[in-house]
């Protein structure tokens, strides 16, 4: 099933929840809508489910108008944020609900319903719990019931609203893997909403980053992470160091660091640079341009260590991530002086007034230059 959304707009009182959103979703794709709260991602999901309607724009499913179909005829499976299980129905009755409310002619026979519910119970690994009420299940079990209930109507589009939001960390990771495997098995077109970038990057084929009702970037997790399209994406995805860069008589420079080249050919005098903590190189030889920095703190977090370095020439603290084993290999101690330089950076030009220009992006790599 192909889904195409064209210029969807949705306004609530004094608030633009969706602003000209266009998006195409291919059959079998696993798409994450990622953004902070208020970014419009849930509104978009509710529009797909038929629980809300855009003020303008169109949605086509396999070339046909999707918005004209009411929610209950869309063949969409929805897993709600708090699951919205029917408290007064058992697990089996919850899963069978969508089949039992069908008009008489389309309703499967009792035996068929029973069989399908049994199969779904097995699929979500809840055999033997069919007679329980939702109040008697754990959070992870409830989530799987909600999923089974959504799958029971054999949807061709599965929607999940913050599917792991209400679960504790361990269950969350386990269910994430399980959902990914389920998707690989069923190849069901799936759209899920999350504010957790780790979740989006780990699960999705494609990530849609949203902010203030607009789509900031659409792309595979690698592209989103390595080639962020806008300053917002840089700052929202992962941790990032941000500092100012100026054009001097000898080219671009920030403190002792000088990225070679200029894709803008002298059109701009200032830019803002984003560098991820793991893209900072320590112990740079004195022959290369780099920052002089002093190591202030070491925070050991399992396999990774977070270092805090003060760079006097930037008058700023930068964060650097290294493998924990490198701590001893490099003999790192708080108070040490180190030379520090980026391996790669993303730069956005600034106009003379200091406003960042989202479309003037320069993805800089050590030794080679890429202009996107």
């Amino acid at each position: 099933m192909t889904l195409e959304l064209f210029r969807l707009n949705r306004r609530f009182a004094g608030f633009h929840a969706l602003n000209d959103v266009s998006l195409a979703i291919a059959p079998g794709e696993f798409v994450a809508l990622l953004g902070p709260s208020g970014s419009g991602k849930t509104t978009l999901l509710r529009i797909l489910a038929g629980l809300d309607y855009p003020d303008s724009g169109a949605a086509l499913k396999d070339g046909e108008d999707f918005l004209a179909t009411p929610a209950r005829e869309r063949r969409v499976g929805m897993v709600f944020q708090h699951y919205a299980l029917f408290r007064h129905l058992t697990v089996v009755e919850n899963i069978a609900f969508g089949l039992r409310v069908r008009p008489w002619r389309q309703r499967p026979s009792r035996a068929k319903i029973h069989e399908r519910v049994d199969r779904l119970l097995a699929r979500v690994q809840l055999e033997g719990l069919g007679g329980r009420y939702p109040s008697q299940l754990s959070g992870g079990q409830r989530q799987r019931v909600a999923l089974a209930r959504a799958l029971a109507v054999e949807p061709d589009l599965l929607l999940l609203d913050e599917p792991f939001g209400a679960l504790d960390a361990q269950v969350r990771v386990a269910l994430r893997r399980w959902l990914r495997e389920l998707h690989e098995e069923l190849r069901l077109t799936t759209v899920f909403v999350t504010h957790d970038q780790e979740e989006a990057l780990e699960l999705a084929d494609r990530v849609v980053v949203m902010n203030r009702g607009r789509i900031e970037q659409v792309g595979s997790p690698e592209v989103i992470y390595q080639q962020p399209a806008t300053p917002f994406v840089c700052e929202f995805i992962g941790k990032v160091n941000r500092f100012a860069v100026r054009r001097t008589s000898v080219g671009w420079a920030a403190g002792g660091w000088m990225p070679e080249g200029d894709p803008w050919e002298g059109r701009f005098a200032g830019a803002v640079a984003y560098v991820r903590p793991e893209q900072l190189r320590l112990a740079v030889p004195a022959t290369e341009p780099a920052w002089e920095a002093r190591l202030r703190h070491i925070y050991l977090a399992g396999s990774i260590a977070h270092l805090e370095l003060h760079v006097p020439s930037l008058d700023q603290v930068l964060e650097v991530d290294v493998a924990s084993e490198d701590l001893s290999r490099l003999g790192l101690q708080p108070g040490m002086d180190l030379r520090l330089a980026p391996r790669s950076a993303v730069l956005f030009a600034q106009d003379p007034a200091g406003a960042t220009l989202e479309h003037e992006r320069w993805i800089w790599h050590e030794r080679d230059r890429v202009h996107a």
Binding site: F6, R7, Y53, P54, D55, S56, G57, A58, L67, A68, P70
Partner: protein, 287 residues
């Protein structure tokens, strides 16, 4: 792409259902609540303002008003003290039989008002347990003011306690424990910590208790003996005038009680609106 109007948000049929349901509810409330209330005032003023005024200035009416106030002034404080004691015991301590105590507090709500009066007649009436003894000592309870007070106390007993218990349960005892740790004495703790925390709920309970105390009919009717000017409260005066076909007189006194009800509703709504968080989420009051 052309702009798509929001044509399919709550569709026309659904909105029609809304309107029909609202109209239905309005008609019912009008018929069952507004009209009876309006009737009271219309009937009271049917012959104009002067007959109305003279009807409520008659000595019997004034005596009934005085008696009603007297009964309420005794019954309400009694139940306030009881409500505070019961709520304190129920919400601050664990003890056996707590659920039973709670059920006992609610009991008067499920007893017919007539039975509430009857039990005191059986206790203190001429043929009652203490009847002969009281008679010998010249004490009159039934067909006198003490009986009216007792019946009213019975009927209104749950109001304050029921308002306080859920609130104090929800508030917990941490603040009071803190006060104790800081060296407050028992009454200091009560007046400086407990009472300020429950004042609006207490006022709410007093309001409901008072409305009920002044308006009670069935229970006081049984113990009153209907002695005009001596043991007739306002609701009883309404009944007697009505049965004597003095409709203007009956509705005139009734209008005062209706006014009391409206004031009670107004203050109650105001309290709920202003101090929602400081009132317990409560089930409706009883009888």
């Amino acid at each position: 792409m052309s702009a798509r109007p929001r044509q399919r948000k709550p569709g026309l049929p659904r909105r029609l259902v809304h309107v029909v349901l609202i109209l239905f509810a309005l008609v019912f409330l009008l018929l069952f609540l507004v009209l009876p209330l309006a009737t009271v005032f219309v009937e009271a003023f049917r012959q104009g303002v002067l007959p109305y005024l003279s009807a409520i200035r008659e000595p019997e009416a004034l005596a009934a008003i005085r008696l009603t106030l007297l009964v309420a002034v005794i019954a309400v404080p009694l139940n306030v003290v009881f409500g505070l004691a019961a709520a304190w015991a129920m919400t601050r301590f664990e003890f056996r039989g707590k659920a039973l105590l709670g059920a006992l507090i609610d009991l008067p709500f499920s007893v017919s008002p007539v039975i509430s009066g009857l039990v005191y007649v059986l206790l203190f009436g001429a043929q009652g347990w203490f009847g002969p003894w009281l008679d010998a000592h010249g004490v009159k309870i039934i067909f006198a003011v003490p009986g009216l007070v007792l019946a009213t106390v019975f009927i209104t007993l749950p109001f304050v306690a029921r308002e306080l218990i859920p609130l104090m349960q929800a508030q917990g005892s941490e603040e009071e424990e803190a006060a104790r740790v800081l060296g407050a004495g028992g009454w200091q703790m009560f007046f400086r910590v407990t009472l300020p925390n429950i004042r609006w709920a207490l006022l709410y309970g007093v309001l409901l208790c008072n409305a009920r105390a002044m308006g009670e009919f069935g229970a006081v009717s049984v113990v009153s003996g209907h002695i005009r000017g001596l043991t007739t409260t306002m609701p009883l005066e309404v009944e007697m005038r009505y049965n004597e076909y003095d409709y203007v007189g009956a509705f005139a006194v009734a209008s005062l009680l209706a006014l009391l009800a409206l004031v009670t509703l107004g203050v109650k709504t105001l309290l709920e609106w202003r101090y929602r968080g400081e009132l317990a989420a409560h089930a409706p009051g009883g009888h």
